[in-house]
Symmetry: C2
Subunit: 405 residues, 2 copies
């Protein structure tokens, strides 16, 4: 049989498998409470509405809904995405500013490939979204890490200092990948004045912002602040969001709001990747916006998640050592914990799994694999009972680890 | 406003927009008979079956069908794909040899990125599938063109001569991208003895074969020969096919059959691109295989296309100049025509469009943009009446062009 190793391209060696997914495999078929995943609670899917919509669109529009469609997205869906984006405060855009993708993952994949060359300076929050970091790593940029503080969020003072230093060295940050709302994994949300300041820095130091608003519609405590794109006067922000958290991840739908110049580049790129996003998914989501299914369903999603978050936070309060810190996210699906410095959560994982609880070691979310004492805990998928028992067990494991060190 | 040009990555300049898609835009909103597209006839979609299936899977399996799923594909779907692949003669495989993609386009995108480096030698049929060539062009390989003769098909004598020459120069072809059945665009089908010979050459000269079997289930005249993968004893063949022609392009589903080493690389790559293929599409296609919808619908698809092909061939016979040659495809959706040498079909297109007929100039399908006298004509989408009128008009345009030159 042929050995494929000598045939692989050089790029292939740069690809990292997602630690989360490898980890999920370890839990398959075992009696483990997984706080490691990132799945929405399936009871939040408006399944009956989706069923009725699927039925209608296939009955009434099969010649279009089951056919090939255009690369940038189905026009009638893009029009509804203009409306949906407006509900996030993004106005003065048309369907020409919209691009439909296979989940926001594909949006990140395309944008990082379209813009980032080997050696480019790319700023990321530290920690940041693992799957985005993995795409970036394959582009071989120079990472500039911007710390995220559990209390004060993304450290813009640090960003400004670095920008000033780099300017003196004649270096430039090309792009800042940022998750301003319900940051994944750190759980922080950027204040409005910080958002404005970030845009000013982008203008002053001439960089692009890739804004990941995956949880923008999923803020369950207080108001969801306007995304950077809503405040963007120079067209510097490329915005992406997803239907995975507000309708159904199984449709694999994300969208981008950006200047038409960016949309054109995405169109050329996506012709190579997969020609277009599934048409049927787009027709279903179009109707879900149009018929109010998404907005009507949001209160249920938010209620489910705030209750589960509260259960998790209370259990952490009761079971984690006093020296630990953790986020109190106003949205999203995760709590992030900073344990006492001596603890290595990657090493501790095996013991935790043996005790029946899985989590994601936080270092995977750091571009430099620091944050060895951190962990990401999912509250959206497990039941409340599992959350309580899982955190209780995890608390014991941590305390044992502490007294052993 | 920000100017995005200075921010683009170097790779972005290598991307070519698909000529077919640009062309389709020109026909939008005009009274043009388009022989340029590549759309299936929507009357062949088993819409009512798909509607019932969608209804059932959302009703009975919404917690899974609307949820995230694994990167390589939904397990129960992969099992059905093993069965479907067997109907193409590919046996002794398991679900571990299957990988589900967003159309076979994504399979080609991933495989070419996983294997091809700048400067690698890649053999392609000349002409070959435009969208595959565009992905390859972005990888900057050295192309080795293998001529396709309207009568004798892909010229394996030429391939062998080149392989021998290159061996003397210490060079190696890494991969041969080939469409053995109902070749797109040339319409030829490789004979069984040639298939065996190609596999022997691959073994002797140690290269990989990327087999595109998009039309394997769509052979409407005679039997469909076994794909290379069915004859592959060394695991050298990476096979891809698609649901776009046998069920619905709007689901955007393709699949790969390959050695598990290849599947593993694809899994890592796809985690970056889009995490996984839409779950709902996979559940629908799974049931379509299981319930026999695909196999029961195939006779209708084949009948529709053989009738349309016959209409097109007869119209060409009656209207094209005697000096022209054209394919007589036993499957697929296209006729390819070689016009007298003096004619440049790219230049002629404007006149043809002014007369109300669009086609794709053939040079786009040649890696070296030769074949300036060729054109690809689609018979699957236009009505029979449109086919007759379109070819009649096109014949006049060609004859005018001939007498002018």
């Amino acid at each position: 049989m042929v050995n494929y190793q000598p045939f692989l391209s050089k790029d292939t060696s740069l690809l990292k498998t997602s630690e989360i997914r490898d980890l999920l495999k370890l839990t398959e078929g075992r009696e483990v409470i997984s706080l490691a995943g990132g799945l929405p609670d399936p009871t939040t899917f408006p399944a009956e509405d989706i069923r009725r919509i699927a039925d209608d669109v296939i009955k009434e529009e099969s010649a279009q809904a089951l056919q090939y469609s255009t690369t940038s997205g189905v026009l009638s869906f893009k029009k509804e995405l203009v409306n949906l984006s407006k509900m996030r405060g993004i106005s003065s855009i048309s369907e020409d500013n919209i691009f439909v993708t296979v989940g926001s993952q594909e949006a990140l994949f395309m944008i990082f490939n379209i813009f980032i060359d080997k050696g480019d300076y790319v700023a990321v929050e530290n920690p940041s979204y693992l799957a985005a970091l993995n795409i970036l790593r394959a582009r071989q940029p120079n990472f500039i890490g911007i710390d995220v503080d559990p209390k004060n969020g993304t450290n813009l003072d640090q960003l400004e200092t670095k920008l000033r230093q780099m300017k003196q060295e004649n270096k430039k940050i090309k792009m800042f990948y940022v998750i301003p709302t319900a940051q994944n994994p750190a759980g922080t949300t950027m204040k409005l004045e910080d958002r404005k300041r970030l845009l000013e820095l982008a203008s002053q130091y001439d960089f692009i912002i890739m804004e990941d608003d995956a949880y923008g519609f999923l803020v369950f405590e207080g108001d969801s602040p306007a995304p950077l794109k809503a405040l963007d006067k120079e067209g510097r922000v490329i915005y992406t969001s997803t239907f995975s958290k507000i309708l159904s991840p199984g449709l694999r739908l994300g969208w981008v709001v950006a200047e038409t110049d960016v949309i054109k580049e995405m169109e050329i790129y996506k012709q190579n990747v997969d020609l277009h996003t599934p048409t049927l998914s787009q027709y279903i989501a179009r109707e879900a916006i149009k018929r109010g299914v998404i907005m009507n369903n949001l209160p249920k999603v938010k209620n489910t998640y705030i209750e589960k978050r509260n259960v998790m936070l209370q259990a952490i309060e009761e079971n984690f050592p006093k020296e630990a810190k953790w986020s109190r996210p106003v949205g999203g699906m995760f709590v992030f914990a900073w344990l006492p410095k001596g603890i290595d959560t990657t090493k501790m994982l095996e013991k935790s799994m043996a005790n029946g609880v899985a989590y994601v070691p936080g270092s995977s979310f750091y571009y430099d694999y620091s944050g060895k004492n951190t962990m990401r805990l999912n509250f959206s998928y497990p039941s409340k009972e599992q959350l309580r028992r899982g955190i209780e067990t995890l608390g014991k494991v941590i305390k044992e680890e502490l007294s052993a060190s």
